[in-house]
Amino acid sequence: MSIFRKRDPPANDPRAEPVLPNVAVCFTSPFRTRRAADWLRNLGGCRPIGVLSDDCGDVAWQCDTEQADLLLLETDFFSDMEDPKDVSSRCDIAIEVRRKLPDCRVYLICEDGHPEKLAALEKAVELKLIDGYCIGDLSAQQMRAWLDETKEVMKAVARPL
Protein backbone atom coordinates (compact mmCIF):
# COMPACT_ATOMS: atom_id res chain seq x y z
CA MET A 1 0.00 0.00 0.00
CA SER A 2 1.39 3.39 -0.88
CA ILE A 3 1.90 5.84 1.92
CA PHE A 4 0.64 8.53 -0.47
CA ARG A 5 -2.76 6.94 -0.82
CA LYS A 6 -5.45 9.57 -0.57
CA ARG A 7 -7.89 8.91 2.23
CA ASP A 8 -11.48 9.78 1.37
CA PRO A 9 -13.43 11.43 4.18
CA PRO A 10 -16.41 9.43 5.46
CA ALA A 11 -19.72 10.27 3.77
CA ASN A 12 -21.40 11.46 6.97
CA ASP A 13 -18.55 13.82 7.89
CA PRO A 14 -19.99 17.36 8.11
CA ARG A 15 -16.61 18.75 7.07
CA ALA A 16 -16.68 16.73 3.85
CA GLU A 17 -16.58 18.86 0.70
CA PRO A 18 -19.87 19.00 -1.19
CA VAL A 19 -19.84 16.97 -4.40
CA LEU A 20 -19.89 19.34 -7.34
CA PRO A 21 -21.83 18.38 -10.46
CA ASN A 22 -19.81 17.46 -13.54
CA VAL A 23 -21.03 19.76 -16.29
CA ALA A 24 -20.29 18.70 -19.86
CA VAL A 25 -20.36 21.58 -22.33
CA CYS A 26 -20.77 21.05 -26.07
CA PHE A 27 -21.13 24.22 -28.09
CA THR A 28 -21.24 24.69 -31.84
CA SER A 29 -17.46 25.08 -32.25
CA PRO A 30 -14.43 24.02 -30.17
CA PHE A 31 -13.59 27.68 -29.57
CA ARG A 32 -17.05 28.41 -28.15
CA THR A 33 -16.91 25.22 -26.07
CA ARG A 34 -13.61 26.25 -24.49
CA ARG A 35 -14.97 29.73 -23.76
CA ALA A 36 -18.11 28.26 -22.18
CA ALA A 37 -16.06 25.87 -20.03
CA ASP A 38 -13.87 28.77 -18.86
CA TRP A 39 -16.96 30.82 -18.06
CA LEU A 40 -18.37 27.93 -16.01
CA ARG A 41 -15.11 27.51 -14.11
CA ASN A 42 -15.20 31.20 -13.17
CA LEU A 43 -18.87 30.90 -12.20
CA GLY A 44 -18.02 28.09 -9.75
CA GLY A 45 -20.22 25.43 -8.20
CA CYS A 46 -19.44 22.81 -10.83
CA ARG A 47 -16.67 20.90 -12.59
CA PRO A 48 -16.77 21.89 -16.26
CA ILE A 49 -15.86 19.37 -18.97
CA GLY A 50 -15.38 20.64 -22.52
CA VAL A 51 -16.67 18.27 -25.19
CA LEU A 52 -14.89 19.55 -28.28
CA SER A 53 -16.57 17.26 -30.81
CA ASP A 54 -20.35 17.50 -31.20
CA ASP A 55 -20.62 14.12 -32.90
CA CYS A 56 -23.41 12.16 -31.17
CA GLY A 57 -21.20 9.15 -30.36
CA ASP A 58 -18.32 11.29 -29.12
CA VAL A 59 -20.54 13.35 -26.79
CA ALA A 60 -22.26 10.25 -25.38
CA TRP A 61 -18.90 8.50 -24.86
CA GLN A 62 -17.26 11.47 -23.14
CA CYS A 63 -20.27 12.15 -20.93
CA ASP A 64 -20.29 8.49 -19.89
CA THR A 65 -16.54 8.40 -19.27
CA GLU A 66 -16.55 11.59 -17.23
CA GLN A 67 -19.86 10.68 -15.53
CA ALA A 68 -21.48 13.98 -16.43
CA ASP A 69 -24.38 15.13 -14.27
CA LEU A 70 -25.44 17.90 -16.62
CA LEU A 71 -24.96 18.44 -20.34
CA LEU A 72 -25.21 21.83 -22.02
CA LEU A 73 -25.77 21.67 -25.78
CA GLU A 74 -25.83 24.67 -28.05
CA THR A 75 -27.94 24.77 -31.21
CA ASP A 76 -27.14 26.41 -34.53
CA PHE A 77 -30.20 26.85 -36.73
CA PHE A 78 -28.09 27.91 -39.71
CA SER A 79 -25.93 24.78 -39.72
CA ASP A 80 -25.73 22.83 -42.98
CA MET A 81 -27.86 19.77 -43.66
CA GLU A 82 -24.86 17.42 -43.50
CA ASP A 83 -24.03 18.43 -39.94
CA PRO A 84 -27.27 19.62 -38.35
CA LYS A 85 -27.18 21.27 -34.95
CA ASP A 86 -30.92 21.95 -34.67
CA VAL A 87 -33.37 20.96 -31.92
CA SER A 88 -34.04 17.42 -33.16
CA SER A 89 -30.37 16.54 -33.74
CA ARG A 90 -29.53 17.87 -30.27
CA CYS A 91 -32.39 15.75 -28.86
CA ASP A 92 -30.80 12.79 -30.65
CA ILE A 93 -27.60 13.41 -28.66
CA ALA A 94 -29.63 13.80 -25.45
CA ILE A 95 -31.26 10.40 -26.10
CA GLU A 96 -27.87 8.71 -26.54
CA VAL A 97 -26.45 10.36 -23.42
CA ARG A 98 -29.49 9.39 -21.35
CA ARG A 99 -29.26 5.82 -22.58
CA LYS A 100 -25.87 5.63 -20.82
CA LEU A 101 -26.59 8.09 -17.98
CA PRO A 102 -30.33 8.13 -17.19
CA ASP A 103 -29.92 10.76 -14.46
CA CYS A 104 -27.90 13.21 -16.56
CA ARG A 105 -29.80 16.44 -17.14
CA VAL A 106 -29.67 17.98 -20.60
CA TYR A 107 -30.30 21.64 -21.42
CA LEU A 108 -30.25 23.40 -24.78
CA ILE A 109 -28.92 26.88 -25.43
CA CYS A 110 -30.63 28.30 -28.50
CA GLU A 111 -29.96 31.41 -30.49
CA ASP A 112 -32.50 34.20 -30.37
CA GLY A 113 -34.79 35.16 -33.26
CA HIS A 114 -36.30 31.79 -34.19
CA PRO A 115 -39.86 31.75 -32.81
CA GLU A 116 -40.75 28.88 -35.18
CA LYS A 117 -38.49 26.58 -33.11
CA LEU A 118 -40.34 27.27 -29.84
CA ALA A 119 -43.03 24.63 -30.43
CA ALA A 120 -40.40 21.94 -31.01
CA LEU A 121 -38.47 23.03 -27.91
CA GLU A 122 -41.60 22.97 -25.73
CA LYS A 123 -42.51 19.53 -27.07
CA ALA A 124 -38.99 18.23 -26.41
CA VAL A 125 -39.30 19.34 -22.76
CA GLU A 126 -42.84 17.96 -22.48
CA LEU A 127 -41.72 14.57 -23.82
CA LYS A 128 -38.72 14.67 -21.47
CA LEU A 129 -36.12 14.46 -24.22
CA ILE A 130 -34.44 17.47 -22.62
CA ASP A 131 -34.90 19.14 -19.22
CA GLY A 132 -35.00 22.73 -20.35
CA TYR A 133 -33.71 25.37 -22.71
CA CYS A 134 -32.81 29.02 -22.82
CA ILE A 135 -33.09 31.46 -25.69
CA GLY A 136 -30.21 33.84 -26.28
CA ASP A 137 -27.18 34.16 -24.03
CA LEU A 138 -26.99 31.94 -20.97
CA SER A 139 -27.07 34.11 -17.84
CA ALA A 140 -25.29 33.27 -14.60
CA GLN A 141 -28.65 33.23 -12.82
CA GLN A 142 -30.09 30.68 -15.27
CA MET A 143 -27.00 28.49 -15.00
CA ARG A 144 -27.16 28.54 -11.21
CA ALA A 145 -30.82 27.49 -11.37
CA TRP A 146 -29.90 24.54 -13.62
CA LEU A 147 -27.02 23.62 -11.30
CA ASP A 148 -29.39 23.66 -8.32
CA GLU A 149 -31.81 21.37 -10.17
CA THR A 150 -28.94 19.02 -10.97
CA LYS A 151 -27.76 18.99 -7.35
CA GLU A 152 -31.30 18.06 -6.25
CA VAL A 153 -31.30 15.12 -8.67
CA MET A 154 -27.83 14.06 -7.50
CA LYS A 155 -29.01 14.14 -3.88
CA ALA A 156 -32.11 12.10 -4.72
CA VAL A 157 -30.01 9.49 -6.55
CA ALA A 158 -27.40 9.29 -3.78
CA ARG A 159 -30.01 9.02 -1.02
CA PRO A 160 -30.09 5.46 0.35
CA LEU A 161 -33.36 3.55 0.06
Partner: protein, 102 residues
Protein backbone atom coordinates in the same frame (compact mmCIF):
# COMPACT_ATOMS: atom_id res chain seq x y z
CA UNK B 1 -35.97 -2.75 -30.00
CA UNK B 2 -35.99 -1.74 -26.33
CA UNK B 3 -38.78 0.22 -24.63
CA UNK B 4 -36.40 3.17 -24.30
CA UNK B 5 -35.73 3.19 -28.06
CA UNK B 6 -39.43 2.90 -28.92
CA UNK B 7 -40.40 5.68 -26.54
CA UNK B 8 -37.64 8.07 -27.56
CA UNK B 9 -38.05 7.41 -31.28
CA UNK B 10 -41.74 8.40 -31.09
CA UNK B 11 -40.94 11.47 -29.03
CA UNK B 12 -38.19 12.53 -31.42
CA UNK B 13 -40.49 12.10 -34.42
CA UNK B 14 -42.98 14.52 -32.86
CA UNK B 15 -40.24 17.06 -32.18
CA UNK B 16 -38.98 16.75 -35.79
CA UNK B 17 -42.49 17.28 -37.19
CA UNK B 18 -42.97 20.40 -35.09
CA UNK B 19 -39.51 21.74 -35.85
CA UNK B 20 -40.01 21.58 -39.60
CA UNK B 21 -43.62 22.78 -39.59
CA UNK B 22 -45.39 19.48 -40.22
CA UNK B 23 -47.73 17.24 -38.27
CA UNK B 24 -51.16 17.63 -36.65
CA UNK B 25 -49.97 19.89 -33.85
CA UNK B 26 -48.52 22.39 -36.30
CA UNK B 27 -51.57 22.31 -38.55
CA UNK B 28 -53.96 22.90 -35.64
CA UNK B 29 -52.15 26.19 -35.01
CA UNK B 30 -52.54 27.45 -38.58
CA UNK B 31 -55.26 29.07 -40.67
CA UNK B 32 -54.66 29.72 -44.36
CA UNK B 33 -55.89 33.00 -45.83
CA UNK B 34 -58.31 32.23 -48.70
CA UNK B 35 -57.18 35.42 -50.48
CA UNK B 36 -53.37 35.54 -50.33
CA UNK B 37 -52.52 32.08 -48.96
CA UNK B 38 -50.56 33.30 -45.96
CA UNK B 39 -50.39 30.93 -42.98
CA UNK B 40 -51.82 32.79 -39.98
CA UNK B 41 -52.00 31.85 -36.32
CA UNK B 42 -55.23 29.94 -35.62
CA UNK B 43 -56.26 32.49 -32.96
CA UNK B 44 -56.33 35.31 -35.52
CA UNK B 45 -59.61 36.34 -37.11
CA UNK B 46 -58.15 38.37 -39.99
CA UNK B 47 -55.15 37.82 -42.25
CA UNK B 48 -52.03 39.65 -41.08
CA UNK B 49 -51.08 40.47 -44.70
CA UNK B 50 -54.27 41.36 -46.60
CA UNK B 51 -56.83 41.73 -43.77
CA UNK B 52 -59.38 39.31 -45.25
CA UNK B 53 -61.53 37.41 -42.72
CA UNK B 54 -60.03 34.02 -42.01
CA UNK B 55 -62.13 30.82 -42.16
CA UNK B 56 -63.26 29.13 -38.93
CA UNK B 57 -61.50 25.93 -39.92
CA UNK B 58 -57.83 25.42 -39.20
CA UNK B 59 -55.44 23.79 -41.64
CA UNK B 60 -55.88 20.57 -39.69
CA UNK B 61 -59.67 20.63 -40.21
CA UNK B 62 -59.13 20.77 -43.98
CA UNK B 63 -56.54 18.00 -43.72
CA UNK B 64 -59.00 15.85 -41.77
CA UNK B 65 -61.68 16.40 -44.39
CA UNK B 66 -59.35 14.87 -47.01
CA UNK B 67 -57.71 12.10 -45.01
CA UNK B 68 -58.72 9.43 -42.57
CA UNK B 69 -57.09 10.47 -39.30
CA UNK B 70 -56.53 8.72 -35.99
CA UNK B 71 -58.86 10.18 -33.31
CA UNK B 72 -56.11 9.65 -30.73
CA UNK B 73 -52.99 11.29 -32.12
CA UNK B 74 -54.37 12.93 -35.28
CA UNK B 75 -52.01 11.48 -37.90
CA UNK B 76 -53.32 10.35 -41.31
CA UNK B 77 -53.86 6.60 -41.62
CA UNK B 78 -54.70 4.40 -44.61
CA UNK B 79 -58.29 3.38 -45.33
CA UNK B 80 -57.59 -0.26 -44.45
CA UNK B 81 -55.83 0.40 -41.12
CA UNK B 82 -57.51 -1.05 -38.04
CA UNK B 83 -55.03 0.31 -35.50
CA UNK B 84 -53.07 3.55 -35.57
CA UNK B 85 -49.42 2.86 -36.40
CA UNK B 86 -48.39 5.86 -34.32
CA UNK B 87 -50.29 5.53 -31.02
CA UNK B 88 -51.80 2.04 -31.31
CA UNK B 89 -55.41 3.19 -30.80
CA UNK B 90 -58.12 1.03 -32.43
CA UNK B 91 -59.57 3.02 -35.32
CA UNK B 92 -63.26 3.43 -36.17
CA UNK B 93 -64.35 2.03 -39.54
CA UNK B 94 -63.33 4.08 -42.57
CA UNK B 95 -66.02 6.25 -44.20
CA UNK B 96 -65.91 7.75 -47.67
CA UNK B 97 -64.95 11.38 -47.37
CA UNK B 98 -65.93 14.16 -49.74
CA UNK B 99 -63.21 16.53 -50.94
CA UNK B 100 -63.23 20.07 -49.64
CA UNK B 101 -61.36 22.82 -51.41
CA UNK B 102 -58.95 24.82 -49.26
Amino acid sequence: MTDYELQTRKALRRVVLLEYGFGPETMRRRKICPNCGRANNSQETHCADCGVTLPEKTLYDFYRSRHRCCPGCGIAVTNVAQYCPECGKRLPKAVQRGETAV
